[in-house]
Amino acid sequence: MTPVDAGGPALREFVENLKAVPRRLKETAFRTGPPVTDRTRSTFVFGNVFLHLHSVRTHRWSLRWTTTMGLGIMTFAAFLIALVTGVMLMFYYKPFPDVAYQSMKDIHFVVPTGRLIRNIHRWSANVMVIGVILHMARAFYTAAYRRPREYNWLIGIGLLVTTLGLSFTGYLLPWDQLAYWAITIGANIAQSPREVTDALNITDYFDPGGFQKLLLLGSDQVGAEALIRFYMLHVMILPLVLAALMAVHFWRIRKDGGLVRPPDADERLTKKRAEETYPVFTEAPAKTYHLAAIVRGRTPNVGRGPENTVPSMPHLFYAELGVLMFTLLICVALSLVSDAPLKELANPNVPENPAKAPWYFLGLQEMVSFSAFMGGIAIPAIVLLGLALIPYLDRETKGTGEWFGGPGGWPLVRLSLLFGLAVPVLLEAFAIRFGWLREWFPDIPQLIVTFINPATVLTAIYALYSIWCIRRYESARAGALGLFTCFLCGFLVLTIIGTYFRGPNWEFFWSPADWPQH
């Protein structure tokens, strides 16, 4: 009979170790201790796989609300929310025609909190689309795309396209009438190069439109193959692409010297709030900037003092978490007030009239109603190409980091807003009131309508306006300001017309109440 306390030293050590487990667990998980000094705050950031995409210190300019309005983080937050709720939905969703609809009915009407989760998923997706557009506008108007951030602007365009793709592929999954016909419209837009190949009589030999549609649907109409394709794209391929692009996007922010700020940001901050300058480096640096020295280009802390920066932990993280929670708040609040739609089971024999694409494509659909090829393929391609070229055509430096910075400035943007809104409204009004070439000359070749229609005329007017801006202000930035503002306005006007003023057979109606009853 040996009492416990009579155990040997090994047993005593074992008991000691057992007692120390919680403390050691904490130490080993957070190796650098609590983030209370600047040094431990730094190590907290770069010692963490998720946080180390951030730089350890953040410029105070970046933390001003007016700098970014948190739009990028809001988009990212919406993605995270959609990711979590999406995974939850996957537990119940079954990607096969008809069965898919049944499972959506179950999620909506039976699964506890299923309806709320689905609503949050849908709203976060919409917030993400809106967020990515607004974020792009912010980056554009503060000239954040300029050297050295050109490439990150391109990544951003990739993110825009991927986000729209994610939202679009998710649209089919409920397999109701709304989804079915929206995707049918989308697939027909993909097929629209046929408009040109048909007009040239070469569709039999060269049919990129048909190929695109086949690639998208795996069949000549929306069916089981299309559903599984969209499902795979939605839950697997596009999220992975998006995650990869986001990683690059965030990484490049750090590598390109943090968020954009005007060259005189330090003076402006200090002038305003000298007394608030945060104490810098409360202890001597333990590391030298060896690594920083081999990094090329103007990284923030090479050759300059770190004044006006604050530790990212906690200053930046409060801001980011704040935006994350704010986004969540918006999504949850919207989800409690407004249910995601679920119409009757998809029926290939009963077309919806009007069949409308998701709202962010209704501007496209409006242009498609004039010419499928120009509206669905050519103009979007021109727009994307134009967006991608902006940083390479605007090599100026004046106004970087300022809202509406550069030659022209806010007055030019204001003028462009007026111009950009007025032109599509007038053009649409004209086309709705008086018709277009096809109504005047019924026998006109399709190619002429393809190349001369309200959508192409609008694009041409915008382009001419942009050239006028360049000449008027002797600046490529001014042209970009004019064109981008016009693009946003055109997107807005066409989307609103497509959403609210188009009824059966895509005819104009002042309100859905005027639609012919049937």
Binding site: K105, V110, V310, Y318, L329, V332, A333, L345
Partner: protein, 550 residues
């Protein structure tokens, strides 16, 4: 920094608040909680919890009993209001069979609108209360149902012979008398289901002689042979679902099966109706249907005016009273047979699916009503519907006087290839006996026997050339240039030409058919000249050559 902290704090608090509110709503503010909190059992208040009936064999998990508590297992004693009340007495205890098996709807849902399917675009809403008997069709098949006149006669016989004095059927009869007597006989509502003593009449007779007093001596009277038959037919249809049986008898006298199949029997000109009761209201057009978007409305309007509800429908509108339209709707809704595990397949369904027992009675009137009346009319006089070719009058006395039973049998058996009349033996799924019954029923409603015909089947020897000219000028207007049929029937039909005798053809041309568009050519009409016997013979010869040209 401070602003960001406040943003984080307020957003988090707001989100938490909203999620908390959603959680409270999801967990505590549900209607079924409020309903259950009013429930009282013998031991006091009942525990408030989610309740359900699970029957794996039927694939049922119904949470309906979360509100309708007293219908749940072991909860019969629960009181507390209309919603909680127990089910009215039925053969199938909902506590065991669940609710959705009979009533439809969404068993897993826990909110009223969701569960009853009264939400937009619900594919399988609950059956409306007045159509509840349609739910029986999920498992059961009422067998041997006669058409409506037969059923009515049988029902009247039961009432006329005062069986209701002692027996209770579907909640009627078997009154309790003040002297303490009454309800002497058993309830016969489900006589056919539970089975009944086939020797009941003999036993009744004996009892009426031996019993000293009471209703046996006063009420019971010997029954005549035809009445006994009617009573038997009546008892056969007692399956505890009177509305459904009556609805089915209307269905069987409207001739729907002439074009529609139900479980493999019927024509194939229209859609198969075997599971028509599961039709998704989201998959049909309500454009021309007044009232709410429920299948009951759609079906009723569709029976009233088929072609205006389903564009391009070839279905002739049936001459139906509103009550019968309601009954047809009920029956169509009852066509909702589900796959069942063997243990749950009821006897009637085994009889129908495994032993080939018929859903309809085998008498000629019923078979005719079920398969022929849709086109030829219940009276056999043919029908006309706008936009459709006229349906021939098959009970026409001029027709029946000239054709043999063999001709009729052959016509029904093989149909008219290329026309809407299918061959009923192979395609339609009727038996030889049933076809014979139809033929004798035709003789009954037509009231005409075949005139004796001493001539052989083929005796015309005239040349077809003269006939062709006459045919073109006189006959082709109605029968088509090649005899392919237009407003009038097709004459180049192989089955017709094979089975029709020369006497039949010459006499039909000569006498015409009274009551139809076919004039007799023995005498001139305002439109056509009279034809001589030779002319007619040459026309027949031409007809014979049409068959060879096909």
């Amino acid at each position: 920094m401070k602003k960001n902290k406040y943003l984080l704090l307020l957003s988090s608090a707001g989100t938490l608040l909203l999620l908390g509110a959603a959680a409270v709503d999801e967990n505590f503010l549900k209607e079924w909680r409020r309903i259950q909190s009013q429930g009282q059992s013998d031991e006091g208040a009942i525990p408030v919890q989610l309740r359900q009936v699970v029957n794996e064999g039927l694939g049922v998990s119904d949470r309906c009993v979360s509100c309708h508590v007293a219908m749940g297992p072991g909860e019969q004693s629960v009181r507390g209001g209309e919603v909680l009340a127990p089910h009215k007495p039925v053969v199938h205890d909902p506590a065991e069979y669940g609710c959705t098996v009979c009533h439809g709807g969404q068993g897993l849902a826990t909110e009223k609108d969701d569960a009853h399917g009264r939400v937009h675009f619900w594919p399988e809403p609950m059956l409306q209360e007045s159509f509840s008997y349609a739910g029986c069709g999920t498992c059961h098949i009422a067998l041997g149902v006669p058409e409506k006149t037969q059923l009515q006669r049988a029902t009247l016989a039961f009432e006329r012979l005062d069986c209701l004095a002692c027996h209770r059927v579907d909640g009627r009869g078997g009154t309790v008398r003040p002297d303490g007597g009454g309800m002497e006989g058993p309830d016969l509502s489900g006589a056919s289901l539970s089975g009944y003593d086939r020797d009941w009449y003999a036993k009744h007779l004996i009892k009426s002689r031996t019993e000293p007093a009471g209703p046996w001596t006063k009420t019971f009277q010997p029954v005549s042979e035809p009445d006994l038959k009617l009573l038997g037919a009546y008892l056969e249809t007692r399956v505890a679902a009177p509305d459904l049986v009556q609805a089915k008898s209307v269905f069987l006298s409207t001739g729907c099966l002439g074009c529609h199949q139900v479980s493999g029997v019927g024509g194939d000109d229209g859609p198969d109706l075997s599971i028509a009761g599961f039709k998704d209201p989201g998959q049909v057009s309500f454009e021309h249907v007044p009232g709410s978007r429920v299948m009951e409305n759609w079906l009723a309007e569709h029976f009233r005016a088929p072609a205006s509800v389903v564009i391009g429908s070839q279905m002739p509108p049936a001459p139906l009273a509103e009550r019968e339209i309601r009954q047809l709707t009920l029956f169509t809704q009852s066509l909702r047979r589900k796959e069942l595990r063997d243990a749950f397949v009821p006897r009637d369904r085994v009889k129908a699916t495994k032993f080939g027992e018929r859903e309809f009675a085998s008498d000629g009137a019923t078979v005719y009503g079920a398969f022929c009346a849709g086109c030829h009319g219940m009276d056999g006089l043919g029908r006309r519907a706008p936009g459709l070719a006229a349906f021939p009058s098959v009970a026409n006395p001029d027709f029946l006087a000239l054709v043999s039973d063999a001709f009729l049998t052959e016509s029904v058996t093989r149909g008219r290839p290329g026309r809407r009349m299918p061959g009923w033996l192979r395609e339609g799924g009727l038996t030889k006996d049933e076809i014979d019954a139809v033929v004798s029923h035709l003789r009954t409603i037509g009231g005409t026997r075949q005139e004796p015909d001493p001539r052989p089947a083929r005796w015309v020897t005239a040349s077809p050339d003269a006939g062709e000219r006459i045919f073109e000028s006189v006959c082709s207007g109605c029968h088509g240039g090649q005899g392919q049929g237009a407003e009038g029937p097709s004459l180049a039909n192989p089955v017709l030409l094979e089975t029709a005798t020369d006497t039949y053809l010459t006499e039909t041309i000569g006498r015409g058919r009274r009551g139809t568009a076919m004039p007799g050519f023995h005498s001139p009409s305002p439109v056509y000249p009279a034809l001589t016997q030779d002319d007619i013979a040459s026309v027949v010869a031409h007809l014979r050559s049409l068959g060879g040209k096909k």
